[in-house]
Symmetry: C2
Subunit: 340 residues, 2 copies
Amino acid sequence: MAVTIKDVARRLNLSITTVSRALDGYEDVAEETRRKVIQTAREMGYVPNRAARQLRKQRTETIGYILPTSAPRFSDPFFSEFISGLGDEAAVQGYDLLISSAPPGEDAERLVYKRWVHGRRVDGYVLNRMRLRDWRVQFLSQMNAPFVALERTLDPVDYPSVEVDGQAGIRDLMDFLIGKGHQRIAYIGTSPDMAIQADRYAGYRQSMQDAGLAFEQELVIEADLTRRGGYRAAQKLLSMQDLPTAIVCINDLTAIGALQCAHELGLKTGKDVAIAGFDGIEEAENSLPPLTTLTQPVYEIARELVKILSAVINGTPLARRRIQIQPELILRASTGAVVS
Amino acid sequence: MAVTIKDVARRLNLSITTVSRALDGYEDVAEETRRKVIQTAREMGYVPNRAARQLRKQRTETIGYILPTSAPRFSDPFFSEFISGLGDEAAVQGYDLLISSAPPGEDAERLVYKRWVHGRRVDGYVLNRMRLRDWRVQFLSQMNAPFVALERTLDPVDYPSVEVDGQAGIRDLMDFLIGKGHQRIAYIGTSPDMAIQADRYAGYRQSMQDAGLAFEQELVIEADLTRRGGYRAAQKLLSMQDLPTAIVCINDLTAIGALQCAHELGLKTGKDVAIAGFDGIEEAENSLPPLTTLTQPVYEIARELVKILSAVINGTPLARRRIQIQPELILRASTGAVVS
DNA sequence: TAAATCATCCAAAACGTTTTGGAAAACGGA
DNA sequence: TCCGTTTTCCAAAACGTTTTGGATGATTTA
C-alpha cells in the first residue's frame, strides 16, 4: 500500500542500505546517486515508516505532555495557548506531540506516566503545574527519562527548567499598590504545595515586610485557581469588618472571580477596592473593569521548553539549564484609574 | 533495558509466541499457563513495545487532531475542554492522542495532514471548525483515512459526524427575543464558508421570516469569532441611527466583545440592548452582565467523536453515523432581567 | 488397536527501518 | 606493475512484536 524504502531501492536498482544512507545524508554515497535517490523518493511519495524507524532507532521522536485536568470538564485559557506552543515548536524540532490527561497528584496520573515510561512511549516529557515536592521529578529522573519543567520544585534533582519569576512580579505589583497608599492588602492563593504558590506568596510576604506593613493571617486565603474559588475567597475577604483595600490574586481566573464578587457586593473595583491577577490571559483585557495583571508569554515559554527538551534528548549541551522570565506588569482599571 | 516479551518468555521457559498469545487472550493456551504468564508479566513490569506492535500490526493505535490555530498565539477556551475530552476517551478506547497545529485552510495545514496520512502516522482523524466545502473531507476520504467531524459540510461524501443543531438553537433564542418584543434584531456571524455560520445564520433568517420581521442587510455583520471581532462589529451596529434592540452572536467570544462595546458606549446591556452568544463557555457565566447563551456539552461531544472514530477504525458498525445534539438555551441577564 | 480429534505449545516469518562490517572497483604512488 | 587508499556500494543482523502453519502428545472414536 504505502511506498516503502524497498520500493524505492528496487526502482533504482540499489540496495535499501544505499537508499537509506543517501536520504540520511551519509558521506559514503556518490553525489550523483544521492541526487537520484532523493528525486525518485520524492516522486514516489516515500515517507519513512515511523514505527519501523522507532523500533530500530529505539527512540520515538515524540514528546509527551500530560494535561493536569483538575475536573473532568475542565477549561483553562492557559492551556490552549500552551499546547499550541508545544505543538509548533515540536514540529520545528522534528517531534510529534503526544497528549494525555490526568487529574494531578492522583494515582491516575502516576499510571499514565508509568505506562508511557515503561512502554517507551515518548522520548521526553514536558511538565508544568509543579508541586513543591513533585513525585514526577523523582520518578522521571530515576527512570532516566528526559524532561523539562515549567516552574521549579524543591526536589534535590538538577533538571532543566523555565521559570517565571513570580516573586519579583508580585513585588512589582505590590510596590505599585503600596505606592498608591494601600496598606491592607489581601492575597488569594492556592494550596501551599504548589510551586507557584510558594513563589508568588513569597513575593507578597516580602513586600509587606519591606514596606513595614503588618502581616495578617486572615488576609491570606487559599483558593483553587478557578473563578469560583476566587469568588468564594473574595466573599470572605469582602465581608470582613475592616475591608482590605486591595486584593492580589495568584492568577487571573481567581482575580476575575473576585471581580465579580466585588461587583455583586456593590463595590466599585478600582475605586473601593483594587484587584489584580497574574497570567495575562485575554479575558483579563475585557473584564469589567479590565484587570491589572502580570503577563507572561505563555506561547513563547512553551516553545522554549520544547527547545530545551529537544537539546536534552539529543545530548546537546545547554547554554543555560534554568531560564528565568520576568513577568510584565500591566496596569489596568481594576487597580485604579489609568489612561490606557 | 526495558523488559521485553523475550524476558518474560525466558523466565517462564515458554516461547514468546505463547506469552504473546496468553496475554492477548487466545483460546489455545492452557488456563494454568495463562495465569502464570499474566502474573509474571505484571511482576516484571512488562509493557509491550508500542513501535514493534505498530510495525507488526500495521496500525498505530493513535488518533490525530490538528488544532486550527488562527494566530500563532492563540487562545480559545473551547479547545482545552475539547482536547481533554478527546484525550480521556482516547485513553478509554486504548488510543493515544497525537496533536499538531496549523492555521486552517492554509498550505501549512495541508502539509501536516499529508505528512500524517502518507507516513501512516495515525489510525484516524478528528476534525472540527469545518468549512462548508472542506478539502480535508475530500482528501481523507480519498486516502481512505478514517475520520470523524464535528459539524457537517456540503461535500458529497458520507462520513460520520456529531453536529450541534445551531439552527434550532438560534431559533429557540430568537423565539425568546421576539416573544419579548424585539423587532430589530441584529446578527454578528463569521465568514460564510464556515459550517457553523451557514447553520446558525440560517436559524436567524428563518426566525425573522417566520415572525414576519423585515430582513435588513445592514443588521448582519461578518466578524471572526474573536472578542475583538465582536467588539468591532458591535461598534458598527451600535452607532447606527436606528439602533437594533437585540444582537445575536455566533459565539460567546463575539458576544463578549459586543458586551464590552455596549458598555463603553454607555448602553445597559439587558435593558437598552439585548445580547446573546453561543457555546456556553465558562467566561459567559461571569461576564457583566452574565451572558445569555446556547450551551453545548463540549467535553461530551469530544468523547462521542472519539467513540465513533474508534468504531470506524475497527470496522464496528455504527448505530448512527450522524449524531445530532440540541444546544440548551441558558437565559441570563444580558437579554433582560432574570431570576436566576 | 489404529485412526481421528483435541489441547497445548512453538519455530519462523514478517513488519520497514538503520547500522555494522565488510567487498568490489577505481585510483594513486612507488 | 603492484600495493595501499579511497570511494562507493551492499548483505545481513537487529529492533520487539504478532501471526502463520504446524508439531507433539494425550484423548477419544471406530
